[in-house]
Symmetry: C2
Subunit: 120 residues, 2 copies
């Protein structure tokens, strides 16, 4: 088949591998998603949550962050659909929303660790 025939939009996203073809709106969402991962506090929160659900206070204590800062970042993660809250009395427990989240973390970690070991 002709793969290089379309100068307009063709070659750029024939499909990243073999799955679905991403359009501009998908790439916008993709960048927004990665923007959420692009902060150490949020990454640490997410990694902490890979060990199971945690309450806000526990997160703040463990990550040595202010409670307000943690809450703010949890909201960002919530709005991005990455974490899910569960209320129990006065306490709110947060958990990863689905397994995609840890998959994304792992894809990045693999790259990071691979680069690190490769350079030294």
């Amino acid at each position: 088949m002709d793969k290089n025939a379309n100068p307009e939009k063709g070659h750029i996203c024939e499909s990243i591998n073999n799955s679905v073809k991403p359009d501009l709106s998908d790439l916008y969402d993709l960048a927004e998603l990665y923007k959420v991962f692009g902060d150490m506090s949020r990454v640490r929160i997410l990694v902490a949550l890979t060990g199971g659900e945690r309450c806000v206070y526990h997160l703040a204590e463990h990550l040595e962050m202010g409670q307000s800062a943690v809450s703010h970042q949890l909201r960002v993660l919530r709005n991005a659909g990455l974490v899910r809250p569960r209320r129990e009395g006065r306490t709110v427990y947060y958990a990863l929303d689905d397994e995609h989240v840890s998959e994304i973390l792992e894809a990045g970690l693999e790259h990071v660790i691979h680069k690190k070991r490769g350079v030294q």
Copy 2:
């Protein structure tokens, strides 16, 4: 440095799945990596490069960006080790540095598309 860098906490990064245990420095690098992906211009450049190497001018034209903006972003991608330049005369062709890059893109895209289809 950290006032309370106590590694005895343990539960946070027992290992994300089954691979290597990420430390604080890894998570810093991870956030920095995602920060690079967290911009639509850069994502579009990377996605364009999944179709093979492209020169700067071609990228600028295709993405409807200024040549300077593309160059600036290519430098960010280069410094992050995500793309690799190859000079041929006056033209510089850029390509993805390794297959990890498209894997990371795919992991995010899967999530994005899944969310999109799931909500409606």
